[in-house]
Symmetry: C2
Subunit: 350 residues, 2 copies
Amino acid sequence: MTATPERSLPPTIFDVAKHARVAASSVSRVLNDHPDVSSSMREKVLAAAEELGYKPDFLAKSLRLGTTYSVGFVVRDISNPLFADIAKGAEDSLRHAGYSMILTNSEGSSELDAQYISLLRQRRVDALILAIESESHPATLEAMHLFPGPLVLLDREVPDLVASAVLSDHRSGVQDGVGHLLTLGHRRVGFVAGPVSIRVTRERRAGYVEAHERHEVAMQDELVRLGSYTWEYGYEQTLVLLDRAHPPTAIVAAGIQLVGGVLLALQERNITVGQDIALICCDEVDLMRVFNPPISAVTRDGYQLGACAAELLIEMLVNQAGPQVQHLPTTYVARGTSVPPVVREHMTDR
Amino acid sequence: MTATPERSLPPTIFDVAKHARVAASSVSRVLNDHPDVSSSMREKVLAAAEELGYKPDFLAKSLRLGTTYSVGFVVRDISNPLFADIAKGAEDSLRHAGYSMILTNSEGSSELDAQYISLLRQRRVDALILAIESESHPATLEAMHLFPGPLVLLDREVPDLVASAVLSDHRSGVQDGVGHLLTLGHRRVGFVAGPVSIRVTRERRAGYVEAHERHEVAMQDELVRLGSYTWEYGYEQTLVLLDRAHPPTAIVAAGIQLVGGVLLALQERNITVGQDIALICCDEVDLMRVFNPPISAVTRDGYQLGACAAELLIEMLVNQAGPQVQHLPTTYVARGTSVPPVVREHMTDR
């Protein structure tokens, strides 16, 4: 099997026009199913096109039909392990409906989010699924508003944008997890999370706050660390928490990208997870389940998230449905790191 | 900020032709920089285009110029954690050269690999980076051969295909790791890997074989399990190995997707990694470094792999360079799971 080089250029719309002895604009009108075309003109053009073997290519056809049966998925971070499941769920549903999916990865840069949304618009994808970096970045907002097709936001809230959304109920899962820690006797629960500028952080923090209220435990603001969803931030903020006069007896790593850094900081201080300190992670990777001991987590079904986003999109594309918002649950799974606090010297003064 | 609906249709090539009182084919020739165009014709057409505010759109421009400044990346499995680094490396280099990158994910389906290569061709991406599922699937081969632009294979070998390639030297890293286990006294090293139909498996197995030869240790074929790179396969084959009359004293999980299953099987049998059994994993995720104990690995630089693939592609796109093959190293990193064998009852008969 070898590539067939194109020796002569394929026939163009102008060749067809010449062959049919009509104007190129007439050929264009015929191929565009323009109503203002006589049937004799139509026959002449189609005959010429067939004789020359004229094949309007995919791009040209897209220009005419206005649909490309493809959907763009703009992702802020493909390295998030949950994303692979989300992408698989979206792709399976879209493929089933006859659409293909192409991805762009902006690695946490809002500027790139905006550029990729524009690129996908220029490539005439029919619709977008968006897991963007920021809900308020001006260029990203402008690019989303300019996009002519249906939009589905994944775990994001953008006021005034006409879009469907799939939202995870982070709040209830975190509330259950932190509630469990408080029930076990913890009174100082560290909370390390990303920026409040995105919904996921705000919801997780709300769950943390509500658990304290429900269990009538006073919250210590100094234990709440909100900054960024990175390994480095998890590492450095865990050290900050451990250096407090009254360090936490449990930590919530409120994002999968944080947990490695949290574990490294604990390892460096010779603090054994699930023994000296309790730990809950929001989201999970497979390895956490075979950790020694297995790590507790607030889990969600990434595949379902992606499939749900795709289905909302298909509803809008195929059935011209209006925008909808779907909520999906999270579940707290207690494992080996949901342990009671160790009574220490410095705890006796409480 | 709201979307601006297009109230009237933008001017077309035919409007420009009418306004300039020339044939549409002449407008096309001018816009295509065709050599056979008089300067008076060029001036007339460009003046008319400017007066009408004619803006050839992106797709139309792509049709003319034959370049879209975009590169497709066909990936068999975006859930492989190394892939995020590879994508970042490729994307950074491509962006620096003025190209954007779009991804497709085939989730281990060769059929989808073939479909996505065709889709990207139809979308006129200028070039492809390929980390395909199979090196011998007919439809994938045909799609690659039909693609008109430069190709770079990532850790794949496809005979007779004109393509550059970036290849990881899996062999030497595995040879070092298995060599270390043999030096520590292991004589029964289990080896669990994916299918021999892809290069990475063949190279890793070659490293395993060469380490035994070099250390003059007889290999036991029953300890070599080649099937698929999945969590399930790692789990089930570890159980098979543990059920042997003479089970291994060390295991090589020769793929990052296998290690979770291997660890789960060991956990279920109450076998403590880094104490009762040695373990080396090929490739790694961050969490492996904070495992208890940290897990030994044969590592490679995903970012460098991606950047190298992009650079080979840019050489071909921009400088019309011919296909090249680049080899990149792997490195064995001994951690807490590279321990000597435990002398057991059943080992005394050896």
